[in-house]
Symmetry: C2
DNA sequence: CTGTTAGCGCGTTCAC
DNA sequence: GTGAACGCGCTAACAG
């Protein structure tokens, strides 16, 4: 049987309260007694039960992480950094996937709340139905995607979209395609809006402006492949010379499909992704993309959740263009 | 304030015990009373506290998942399926990354044990120091990598290695390289041993046998790139015509490096990976690989942990060759 | 500075 | 078939 404070107390010849105080560090305890208790703890291999403590404090040392899908490299990266930081601070992270399903999300959150988590980090689904449910306790910050009434830490998606368009236009492209994410998600909308606003501001040449086509897909490899095929299945002289995507997975799917269709990247087609997942620098050709500062996002989120940094109003981190090999000047 | 059983009881005009019985379903409760209680539960939006229940039963509804690194797509995939199955059964999964550090692993497990998890699914690090610590309670199954004294569910790594070698030899390759994983991990050793055993059994031709070179790397993209460079930086007539790797990430890094060195895949070099991560079918060229049945692994592990399927002795699932575009017959 | 005591929310065992 | 009481492991408040 696992030893409890009671066992330690008895074995050390002191009372429960004293053991508790030794465990709490800060309280004032006699040197000798403290040593004796610590010895006993060591000898018995005692380790405190989070269960008892959590019940008493009505607050566990669990941080809930609610995301659409852990196999999305961006979220995996986020999860990793959150977990490292949380673990260093003595917290554990509970993983909950929503698969972009509002009902699943609701259920997951419900169950999470029953655990009295120290905090929640959530990338909410599109039409989340939980906004009010997470009122004040526990601290909840949203990442990547906003949720009414909660503080957000995220990359500036509008600016990211703008950056991508600016970059492509600067390269001389004038027939441009865009593969968006699901129209129901805020991020998709923001990235697209930043992108198309910048396109709209492009100077007109020879009396006509930029040709711009948008298709909507999912945030995965396969969708990038399918939507790419749709965008590229037109006569060569009408085909876009550059395509931006709403995330890197789509861009990689697009790469795949370009190759299958015999369209060379970047000679015939420039591609720019979004996120800068680890893989972006490993595909052929290496992917030019808009980088999100995942580490920072994780760090700020954890700080906010653990109360070591108040956060009011959305925190929008600046994206950056990472230029690699999938883009070229249009001649 | 979150309502408790007490609130429900008072509001329904019954006692605590009765509410508890209603919640437990199975016990015999008067029809009218049951309905009234359920109504009140609905009205109050009551949901039971896992904390209280867990403390009482000394068993939480948490399943600990201890893995080296969630950004490894194989583990992400595993985590996803485990989480789906766990969630469906009313359990949550706690994520713990070890980064292949035995000390970190020990600390993570220690903290996990304080939560009285319903079960633990672990892919132990190389020289794990926890084998005895996880004696009987809670149920613990290891995946991917073995750990003395615990049941294992995994792919048959030796057979997988053998399959890769057999496949490459069958394609006519006789100068073959191998990029292994860290020599300290069981899986690396097993995959390599299966591979080299099969190589050794190859019929000798023109009086000489197969040329076989092995290098050791880490299980990531970058290492595949570096080790590939090492294997390929020799005069063309001495260069391997085929290389197998211990996982897909290495193979993708190798793809990257071949491209950089101007070596064509599969014309000049055949590559076969291991795992079949989602990405394997998306890189250029699509990767031939040895597939692990991740879904099955997740399913068996969860069943074992939740006690719905006893498991004695290691369960070794059969790997399969997935032939794609990164391999070709040697002429 | 230390011991004692009272619950945190829940399930269970005993009377009734 | 139902209610009352106890205790899971722990911490905080109070008394000594």
């Amino acid at each position: 049987m696992k030893p409890t404070v009671k066992d330690v107390a008895r074995s050390a010849g002191v009372s429960l309260g004293t053991v508790s105080r030794v465990l709490a560090k800060n309280a004032t305890v006699n040197e000798n007694i403290r040593n004796r208790v610590e010895e006993v703890i060591e000898k018995l291999g005692y380790s405190p039960s989070s269960l008892g403590r959590s019940l008493r404090l009505n607050k566990s040392d669990i941080i809930g992480l609610v995301i659409p899908d852990i196999t999305n490299p961006f979220f995996a990266d986020l999860a990793k950094h959150l977990e490292i930081l949380a673990s260093a601070a003595g917290y554990s992270v509970l993983l909950a996937n929503t698969h972009d399903d509002p009902l699943a999300e609701k259920k997951q959150i419900q169950s999470l709340l029953g655990r009295a988590p120290a905090g929640i980090v959530i990338a909410p689904v599109s039409n989340s139905l939980v906004s009010e449910r997470l009122s004040k306790e526990p601290v909840c910050v949203t990442v990547d995607r906003p949720l009414a009434g909660h503080s957000l830490v995220s990359v500036d998606n509008v600016e990211g979209g703008r950056l991508a368009a600016e970059y492509l236009l600067g390269l001389g492209h004038r027939r441009i395609g865009y593969i968006g994410g699901p129209g129901t998600t805020e991020v998709s909308l923001q990235r697209l809006s930043g992108f198309s606003d910048q396109i709209a501001r492009a100077p007109t040449e020879h009396g006509r402006s930029v040709e711009f086509t948008v298709v909507e897909g999912q945030f995965d490899y396969k969708s990038g492949e399918e939507m790419g095929r749709r965008l590229l299945s037109v006569p060569a002289n009408l085909r876009p010379t550059a395509i931006a995507t709403a995330n890197d997975q789509q861009a990689i799917g697009l790469l795949r499909c370009s190759r299958d269709m015999g369209i060379r990247v970047p000679e015939d087609l420039s591609i720019v992704g979004f996120d800068d997942i680890p893989l972006a620098s490993l595909v052929l050709p290496r992917l030019t993309t808009i980088r999100q500062p995942v580490h920072e996002i994780a760090e700020i989120a954890i700080r906010a959740v653990l109360g070591r940094g108040a956060i009011n109003g959305p925190i929008l981190l600046p994206p950056t263009v990472v230029e690699r090999e999938s883009t070229a000047r249009f001649l």
